[in-house]
Amino acid sequence: MSPDIYIETGTTLKWLLTTAWLLPLAGFLIEVFGGYWSGRKSRAAAFLAVGCIATGFVCSLIALLTWLDAADLNVSDIWQNPRAVAAATHEVSEATHVDHEHDADHAADAEHHGDHEHAVPAHSEEEHHGHAAHGNNPLKFAFNGTFYTLAKFGRIQITLDYYIDGLTVLMFTMVTFIATCIHLFAIGYMSDELTESYEDHQVHLPGGKHFHRPGRFYRFFSFLSLFCFAMLGLVLAGNIFQVFIFWELVGVCSYLLIGFYVERKSASTAANKAFIMNRVGDFGFLIGLMILWTWFGTFQFANTNPDQTGEQGLFQMVRTDAGAIETEGEGLNRVAYMQSATGEHLLGNDGQARRIPYWLLVVAGLGIFAGCVGKSAQFPLQTWLPDAMEGPTPVSALVHSATMVAAGVYLAGRFFPMFTPEVLLVIAYVGAITAFIGATIALVVTDIKQVLAYSTISQLGYMMLAIGVGGWLAGLFHLITHAFFKSLMFLCSGSVIHGCHHEQEMTKMGGLYKKMPITCWTMWIGVVAISGLAIPITLPYLGAISFSGFHSKDAIIASSLSFSTLNPTHSLLFFIPLITAGITAFYMHRMWFMTFFGKPKDHHVHDHAHESPWVMCGPLLALSFFAAFCAVGGESGPLANLLLTSEPTHVAGGVQAAGELGLTLPSHHEIHECHSQAGMMALLAALMGTVVAYLFYCKQAVDPALVKARFESAHRFLKSKWQFDEIYDSMFTRPVHVVAKWCTGFDREALDRFLHSCASLAVGIAQWDRKFDEAVVDRIVNVFGEVTYAAGRTLKGVQTGRLRQYVMFIAAAVVCLFVVLFLFLPR
């Protein structure tokens, strides 16, 4: 691609994506101010919101096409000859990043790395906007720049940057598309709110009545728009600080949306919980930010400016051309050198090479990951997510597929170059544990949305696991496919709930497939996709006959298998996801069978069930199409190729025995080798799960109740969600309450009690003193004294004596201060 085209493409993409990003904000502003006056019964807000997000989708789609065109990953080419292109991409990426030779000829057919080797700034024809793929740059293909400098704070520059690469464009398209579907769906789902007096059946007022309030149709849509704006901003962000800003905004929006039915106590608690859990993670994020800023002095991801003006981005500083972290020393003294644009050590102001203690790099990575843990509901902060089901179903769909939880995985993927092997190992284990916990709890819950919620947790764990074991592609691949099928299933469950008049318990459903066929079969697509089922026949161009989930999950299992082969001590990282795959298939089918098949368990529900209107079914069909086919071609299909273009440099070649722990990350090649083996195992597990679920819940061959009774204690343990809430309650919530109470009561309680104990100690003296006073001194004014005493005694009940306690406390504090000081002073 020539420089001119590069500039042109960059500018086009920038404006397209900016439009897509800002439209929801405009929508939000109009809705929040205009909605109030347009009345409670108007659907205008909804149409506006849909219009904004749909236009955003169109823009994103155009951007995607532009990008494909520019990257020469022509859609038609891919369809005609996906293998060839994929092969070329693989070949070239490996050639470029492993060998680092001037291999332009070799890569001539895939011209987008035409200037790989031109790391030298003097390369004049590439001077202008040659894309970021020169040698030093881990970025194959990216555009970045600054919209607006928000503020300068000493050395910190807070800017609104953009950073556009394949991942960005793909995320944009995915988010806007799913959001459009969900918006449309919500028009139908939220139509109850189009009233002046909405009756909330779940809020019971004294006297057996339900709570009445004005409908909040426009409010819902304005929040949705704001949510989309925040998420898109996060994706578009070009520096980690901007990510943080939108990160928080996403948190706030989720707070508002989860707490939409604020009058329900459960909803407001859930909203609080979500927000607070996220804040806990964000604290880690902040620590990471602080370390990055202190040592690197920049927040920018990368500088893709071809003429190397401007500061280096984080990714460029931390890794060499080959994508390795250059370190020196051992243990805590180990330091990592920062890299300059020309592949040398970056020099500080004093002429010394700039270095960062390796352990700080690890801490920074862990800190950033802590943010991801909060946002993506990973162990141990996963408990907010199921509670977040209190929000309206479209919100759940949005939160759980395309936006909030995806943000964490997205950031982990985006920030991958900054993660050292140690951090990756933590990520992998956290992901594995999360996947397992989520899946096991999903086995026992009976609320249809809760099943989906736990499956989300589990799937997010998968993604984190994949990223942790070095399967960058697999993780983000799964992120995209999961977004489609999970939003599909949520909307399906929404349709069921809508059809059953807000009944969410699966134990009261059953046999609904006749009543709502569209919902039933679209959901089936989702279930098959998430279970990773496939027919093990490989077609020439399309890979195995399967839906999207198979491909991505297959990739994850393959990555973890190859990781555990290379690092045998961590073989658990392969077995957990494998087992989980089986469990996943089981509980998803359990849900599907329980809902749609078998005998109707509650006739009241069954009789009133009806298929949803077209405004709701339409999105289901659209989403089911993508859930089925978006990953066609598997890892050599168009989606994976698109993702590969933004994969960090060092992933493809793998990493040999790096870090303190000597971890080896698998290369593409190694993953590829064990692909079929892993695929077969995963498929086997999934099939087993499916068959068992069929036997249990459709065929009724085994009575689930018996099993439940057999494993009563395990069931109870799972039912109480591994006791996490209880643990947190007793570990954090209660102590904080106690301390808070103690602090407020300190003035009154502690001091008073102190005084009282002194008083009781001195009560003998007091009485003696009183007698002495009355008998000897005050005999003349005895009566007067009596009155005084009585009055004083009466007043004593009222008084707390606080002012003097204050003064007493000054003296006591001064004394204590000195005693403490003297204790600590050297003698």
């Binding site: 005084l755 008083a759 100690l761 001195a762 003296i765 003193d769 004596g801 007493m808």
Partner: protein, 239 residues
């Protein structure tokens, strides 16, 4: 003689202060307070701080305590005249007080004041004391007056004692008009002092606080009179 006088004053001061603490009747407290403050004035005189001592008597004993007694009278109504503290509180306060004393007294007494003074003098810090009080005892008012106008005569004297002596002779009580009455003095001395003051920054004159405190007093009196007067009365010009 000195130490005897000091012992009497010190004991009287401490005893009266203790009396304030221990007496339960507010009028008696006021009495003990007067005694205590008066004895402090005596200690001031012993320290050659005549002007401060006089001010202490005038403002404290004559003014502040009278103010307090006014307060006692205005607020003393019937049964609340004697409001007793509980013995328990006295004990508690006594414990804290003894702890404070146990910290303060060893600290201040263990410091080697003379040694420190010598250390500083050896290090070249000008010794400001000595001349201004030992020559003419009680001859401080004039220095204070000048200092309040922003001129430090004593600091100038310290480095040139021979010239400084002649000024001390002219000391007589100028009251608290702060050196307004000082007239007949040689220009030579003035020039000398001038040179000293302008070339060293160490000697600080106290013109600013002297003047700004008058503003402060004005503000405070306006505030006090606001609180004291009844609400919504037709205003009289205040202060």
């Amino acid at each position: 003689m000195e130490s005897l006088l000091f012992t009497i004053y010190a004991l009287a001061t401490c005893g009266a202060a203790l009396g304030v603490v221990l007496s339960q009747n507010v009028a008696r407290m006021a009495f003990w307070l007067v005694v205590s403050l008066g004895c402090v004035a005596g200690l001031f005189f012993m320290l050659n701080a005549d002007f401060v001592g006089a001010t202490q008597l005038l403002i404290y004993v004559g003014g502040t305590v009278v103010l307090l007694i006014f307060g006692v009278m205005l607020t003393a109504s019937g049964p609340f005249n004697t409001i007793k503290s509980e013995p328990a509180e006295m004990i508690q306060a006594g414990v804290i007080g003894i702890a404070l004393l146990a910290i303060l007294i060893p600290t201040v007494t263990s410091v080697d004041w003379v040694g420190n003074r010598d250390t500083l003098s050896h290090a070249g810090v000008k010794s400001p004391s000595g001349e201004f009080n030992q020559q003419g005892e009680g001859g401080t008012s004039r220095h204070i007056g000048a200092a309040l106008l922003g001129v430090r005569v004593d600091q100038a004297d310290a480095s040139a004692p021979s010239e400084a002596h002649e000024h001390h002779e002219a000391d007589h009580d100028h009251g608290h008009e702060h050196a307004h009455g000082e007239e007949a003095h040689s220009h030579a001395a003035h020039d000398h002092a001038h040179a000293q003051v302008s070339e060293t920054n160490q000697a600080s004159g106290y013109l600013l606080p002297f003047e700004i405190i008058s503003v402060h007093l004005l503000v405070v009196l306006i505030g006090a009179s606001y609180l004291a007067r009844a609400k919504r009365r037709v205003e009289q010009p205040t202060s």
